[in-house]
Amino acid sequence: MKTLYLVIALAPLFASVVVGLYGPKLGRTVSHWLCILGVAVSMVASVFVWRDVQAGNVFNGDVYTWLASGDLRFAVGFLIDPLTATMMVVVTFVSLMVHIYTIGYMAEDPGYTRFFSYISLFTFSMLMLVMSNNFVQLFFGWEAVGLVSYLLIGFWYERPTAIYANLKAFLANRVGDFGFVLGIGLVLAYFGSLDYATVFAKAPEFANTTVTIWGDQAWSLMTVACICLFVGAMGKSAQVPLHVWLPDSMEGPTPISALIHAATMVTAGIFMVARMSPLFELSETALSVVTVIGATTALFMAFLGIVQNDIKRVVAYSTLSQLGYMTVALGVSAYSAAIFHLMTHAFFKALLFLGAGSVIIAMHHEQDLRKMGGLRKYMPITWATAVVGSLALAGIPPFAGFFSKDAIIEAVHLSKIPGHGYAYFAVMAGVFITAFYSFRMLFLAFHGKPRWTESAHDAGEAEHGHDASHGVGHEPDAHHGVDADHPPKESPWVVTVPLVLLAIPSVYTGWTYIEPMLFGGYFGDSLVVRPEHAVLWELKNEWHGVAAFVQHGVMSLPFWLALAGIAAAWYCYLVNPALPERLKRLAGPVYTLLDNKYYFDRFNDWFFAGGSRKVGGALFEVGDRGVIDGFFVNGTAKVVGLAAALLRHIQSGYVYHYAFTMIVGVFALLTWWVGR
């Protein structure tokens, strides 16, 4: 089996390296087939492994020793259990869909082969991350996906906004990694190993260990270590306040927004915390922090989804909010619900992103929702799949999102973790907002009167100019976009087939997997929950099958909140389109706050980016140039020069100077000698 695991990880890497080095020589067709083949091999093998794991075959073994120092060994190895296998299938499946979709989406781009090389490299990195059996390899995958994300956000490196966004993404992630590395360091310091199995086995021994961090205050080791690790998850999974990079990451081509910034990479933090459940379970405080941060992200990022006009940014804020839901689930120890939501979300969010991409192609790289409308007629497949995605996102039964989201809400409801009250309110309110912004997007893009029949050169152009600008090499006439004579067309099959293939699991994975994943033994020993946190056990007592769950669901608040959200969106954007403008004016300051994304970006630019440049400038000018070089180094040189200049006067060359000096000296010596 080990060989098969290696094949799964290395097939995309091989394709990536070959296409990366020889892509231009191989040509587009060979390149994309090679990459697709690599990922397809991974996917088929992953499904096989997944079934094998379901049969109870868990694997934990090393491939090679990366580094050894005495008894300490860091290895590269695989841990294949139900958690990993689920992630492998999700990652390779979405990746394969995105690979196929890319053929259509990037068709006109001169960086075509480079793009394929990157997304295959991403697949490899993500697989290494989820398949790891130790912290070092986890960190490798963690950073490698960050690198590919950086490269892909900046894929159109000529755009100033893109290279600003990718630097921002990398640095925000590095802030998370900073905490992550400290967490890993603490684990090694106390557990003496970075191997999962060893660490998790030892964890209970350290449940009551304390460390002093500041003064005499004793902190629980597990709390400190878990919060450090969670900071890493906050970076990667874009939790407040490290979320700032994710909306800007939309500067990258849409396929990677779907793959990396919605379905897979951003869920790495969720996966990591679930993987570390044996550690997090030992710290009530850490779980509470996770809950509160997740709830804050879930609610406050959803608000921002309402005021976005860029179709991709609506989906981006929705992703942030949904990641918040998953994080809340982690915080209330409903790890399997988090992974369940991760899975359904991967399908329907990738679907929504790729759907948005399909719209963007049809609109000739126009991303402003205010210039769309009425596309349903022209793009029936895209529309239908977008409806499926939106219903799943809004949590309407029987779509997948309903089951995973309702499970999270129920789990929060049953939780006793500090902060659960706030979290429950946040996830509840979030349901309404989620439904509202998803259907706002759907209605603005696909329904109502077409707004693209008006001239493309209206006022909105200047304001959202960069969103409309397009990648290198899109032929200039594409700039004119669509109008009444050139209506949008449905996208080619390479685009629509992945949409349909993603719509299918967005429908059925909910009711098929809720029972085994949440209440059955699906995850086996890969997730650990302590009895006092076992909210899903309590939920299980109320579980009477899918039908009863749906029945209970439609009679409880979240469902009605979601319907209300849809209705509100319908009223605001289809029935009475003047209303939003009026509300905007009414809500004045609140709207300004939302429009400025709570001023996070401005604060970061001013305080962190500007501040560090000021600090650096001050240290350089005052420290290096002023004190060290100016005073000490060149000062020493000056003193030597000055002393030499003074001493030079003594050596005047006149004999009477020397004679006089000598007489004074003799006199002084005699005085001293006699006086002694």
Binding site: W66, V136, Y157, F170, R174, V181, I213, V224, G623
Partner: protein, 490 residues
């Protein structure tokens, strides 16, 4: 038995002298080939040091001993352990690359240029292999001369200021070291390092000697606040000079810490470890911020070097196997990565005759292959896993967290700072639209430049993916070193 260490010292030196014979301009081409042959021979003779190395013992290997100045008991005493052997090989490899890198770039006084590098290579190998105090001192000081000439003759516009600053700074630093060496001779009546490892010394004496050695080596590393010669030297030095300076000569300062300070003065080292750790962390953080605001690419990389070397001294003074091995891994990695970064700047400088970040922008448009290399080396500089830059930083951070979480906290800031200054430079130089007609006219890397960078790229990736062989070589020697540090000499 073949005296590999002597060969690694004298083959390049003799080759350098041979090249000097071809000093006429008409012989320039021949001089290049002779130099390349000499550098290649110098590299090949160091390979047996690795292949025949016994990783199970901390004893000196490839020992050569002959009387040199019997009156003062000075010996021509060479030997390597698991720590120094890696640097001899690294140095010889870098010399080969530097000779190759200067191939078409250097047009004036070719023979002298090549000879200076070859001779310096031999001297540096001598410093790494010397096990006699006087022999070490001679090599240590002698290698200043070729570097001084390289900066002073083939350097930039302010080369004289930089060369003199470099020379005086390092010379002033090492004056007291000579006193310390003589003092140790008076106590032990021997110049053999191994005798010094055994001699008992009182704490005040150890502290005084510590100060003397510390001054010499900390200037070389360089540690904050005696680092200001390095940015000037780098900016003015030709590409080859910067490569050797960053990749090798800085390492000799760090090497001095583990060859002299830690084992000879264990009590003072432990007593003053807090002081050194603080200076190291200041280097990591303060210099990280300073690097952020540099407008000159070479200066930025020079500051980044200082910041990375802060990890080396930090790792040493944590006194744990992980810390020291991380520090040594960082030294080797920094040899590759800083060399690569300076080579990359050299590629741009040769085309544009500017190192100002502001003069560039959008280089990726005209030099895609080059951009890929820059990306790889920048990521290594930022310590990304699977590159060599990760190994040392990661191990040192782990060791620091174990010693005290706050040390780890301060050290780990490099994750953010290192990425910030490196990638911000990449953003401004490599990415973006073509900034000006000069950038539009840039030609991508030549075949020579490509293979040069490819060799380093392979080394960077290999060490990142599988650092075990490197650490295995040093492990036993590191344990032995730490045993010395742990044993009081009072």
């Amino acid at each position: 038995m073949i005296p590999y260490l002597s060969l690694s010292i004298w083959v390049p030196i003799l080759a350098g002298l041979a090249v000097l014979v071809l000093h006429r301009d008409s012989d320039a081409h021949r001089a290049r080939w002779v130099a390349l042959a000499g550098a290649l021979a110098g590299f090949l003779v160091t390979l047996p040091l690795f292949t025949h190395f016994d990783t199970t013992t901390s004893a000196l290997q490839f020992v050569e001993r002959g009387e040199w100045i019997p009156r003062f008991d000075v010996w021509y005493f060479l030997g390597v352990d698991g720590i120094s052997v890696l640097f001899v090989i690294l140095n010889s490899l870098m010399t080969l690359l530097v000779v190759w890198a200067g191939w078409e770039v250097i047009q004036s006084r070719v023979a002298q240029y090549m000879a200076a590098f070859l001779i310096m290579s031999g001297l540096i190998n001598g410093a790494f292999a010397a096990m006699d105090g006087v022999l070490f001192y001679v090599f240590f000081e002698a290698m200043l001369i070729p570097m001084y000439l390289i900066i002073g003759i083939w350097g930039g516009p302010r080369r004289e200021y930089a060369a003199i600053k470099f020379f005086l700074y390092t010379l002033a630093g090492s004056v007291l070291m000579l006193v310390a060496l003589v003092y140790l001779y008076n106590v032990t009546e021997s110049f053999a390092l191994q005798d010094w490892y055994r001699v008992p010394l009182s704490l005040p004496v150890q502290i005084a000697l510590f100060a003397a050695f510390f001054l010499a080596f900390s200037v070389k590393v360089p540690m904050w606040p005696v680092h200001t010669w390095l940015p000037d030297a780098h900016v003015e030095a030709p590409t080859g000079g910067s490569v050797i300076l960053a990749a090798i000569t800085l390492k000799i300062g760090a090497y001095g810490f583990i060859r002299f300070i830690l084992p000879i003065l264990p009590d003072a080292s432990r007593y003053l470890s807090g002081f050194v750790i603080v200076l190291s962390l200041v280097a990591v953080i303060y210099i990280g911020f300073v690097a952020l605001v540099q407008a000159d690419m070479k200066k930025l990389i020079a500051y980044s070097s200082i910041s990375h070397m802060g990890f080396v001294t930090l790792g040493f003074f944590l006194f744990s196997p992980l810390g020291v091995e991380g520090a040594l891994a960082q030294m080797i990695s920094h040899g590759f990565v800083s060399a690569a970064m300076f080579l990359c700047v050299g590629v741009l400088y040769d085309r544009m005759h500017s190192r100002q970040i502001a003069d560039f922008g959008g280089v990726a448009n005209t030099m895609p292959k080059f951009a890929a290399f820059v990306m790889l080396f920048s990521m290594a500089n930022a310590g990304l896993p699977a590159t060599s830059g990760f190994v040392g930083e990661f191990l040192v951070i782990l060791a620091a967290v174990k010693a005290n979480p706050w040390l780890g906290f301060a050290a780990a800031l490099t994750l953010i700072l290192g990425a910030a200054y490196t990638l911000w430079m990449v953003k401004r130089v490599v990415f973006g639209a073509v900034a000006n007609p000069h950038v539009a006219a840039l030609a991508d890397v030549s075949r020579r430049e490509f293979w040069l960078l490819a060799v380093v790229a392979v080394a960077v990736l290999a060490m990142g993916i599988w650092p075990k062989p490197f650490v295995d070589v040093m492990h036993v020697s590191v344990i032995d070193l730490l045993a010395h540090v742990a044993k009081s000499k009072l």
